[in-house]
Subunit: 256 residues, 2 copies
Amino acid sequence: MTDTTATACVLVIGNEVLSGRTQDANINYIASELTKLGIRLAECRVIPDVESEIVDAVNHCRAKYSYVFTTGGIGSTHDDITAASVAKAFGLEFGMNPEAERILLDHYGDKANDARMRMAMTPVGAELIDNPVSKAPGFRVENVYVMAGVPVIARAMFDNVKGTLAGGKLLVVKTVSTIGISEGMIAVELGDVQKAHADVDIGSYPFLKMGKFGTNLVVRGETDALVEAACADLRQLIEDAGGEPIDGETEGDELK
Amino acid sequence: MTDTTATACVLVIGNEVLSGRTQDANINYIASELTKLGIRLAECRVIPDVESEIVDAVNHCRAKYSYVFTTGGIGSTHDDITAASVAKAFGLEFGMNPEAERILLDHYGDKANDARMRMAMTPVGAELIDNPVSKAPGFRVENVYVMAGVPVIARAMFDNVKGTLAGGKLLVVKTVSTIGISEGMIAVELGDVQKAHADVDIGSYPFLKMGKFGTNLVVRGETDALVEAACADLRQLIEDAGGEPIDGETEGDELK
């Protein structure tokens, strides 16, 4: 498929995800939202709370992709080193952000302390991302968006910035499905349809439903005409295999 | 913390995870199992079904880490290119694996076709990983373990190889928790305890329980004595803050 869309990368920063203690819940949310915006999520990485790893990943990914979203490591404890590491990646000073300082002083009042106020420190010049849940803000430096790891906060922060993301090109997505025909019975022909329609992207998502195998064939492309042409061939393929094509997604227990 | 343990990386290969269509369920399982084995999961990546991306990631990660586990992209359809890409990464020929061919011919009988038999192709010389669920095997080349993406199959494959993984050093893990003391109230002192016990790794996992904030302080280290010394200081820290230390994990709604 011709690829002219904006691209993105998610960096999940946290030893707790790598140790298996915490199940990441942010990749799937951000992935779904980016897809709706027509921005292609091209890569995700889960990396530890280690400065050199964060600096390397941020610098690699911000050069390679249109947008980088980080989650995790912006709390108040000693292992929260994301903000300082992002400053280092950009070669920026790391200091108290006056606007964030005001927000946290307002929020904590006489419970403000050094650890909590550390959450008001950003790379100098960063633009804040509002945190409606627990106040301590995220921030943006150029194309890097630094957000919290707590899913409810990460989602709120992402929702606050998504309206500002540019370059998305919404794709047309249609699904042709069938029950009683397993993926392996049509895989060769499916490859032929993909070759004949190289300007769209066809994915096959097999499922099991009431003891029968079936598959959802999802077609993504830039125009309705391109997508519909591929769908027509997929319906024919299913009929040729002795099955019945269904327009739209069939729910089942996914096998992928 | 001194780091002498074996390391690992998980590569999740699949456009469906990047588009948000599928929520990855393999990282968390493999992470938890590796932790039990004393092998440190150092990085995970989610990458698309694109040959150059797979080749680059496999070659980067197999040089950097003791073990690489891939999931996804070994099915029968045109977008399943993991096996061929791993062959390319190693500079190996990609061909029919006689043992895998026999397994699939036995399994499919007269329903065997070109697409299904493609699942018997591996880099030449690869060692098979048994698939008790749907037969099509995974495989290993050197330190790279190529497994299915379907969670129930990925887990079965991982369980089949985990007994063969070497180099793990089991860590001692203890948790001291408290309710009524929020992380932000003790973060500075917590940083001091971490500095005083640089040979262990202390993580703080705040939670909310019946309207009260609390935190689980998890200490990991190589010996019971090292871990217990840090735990003693953490109990004192909690008492100094006016709280009550609890040995072991307190269940709550995690905020991280």
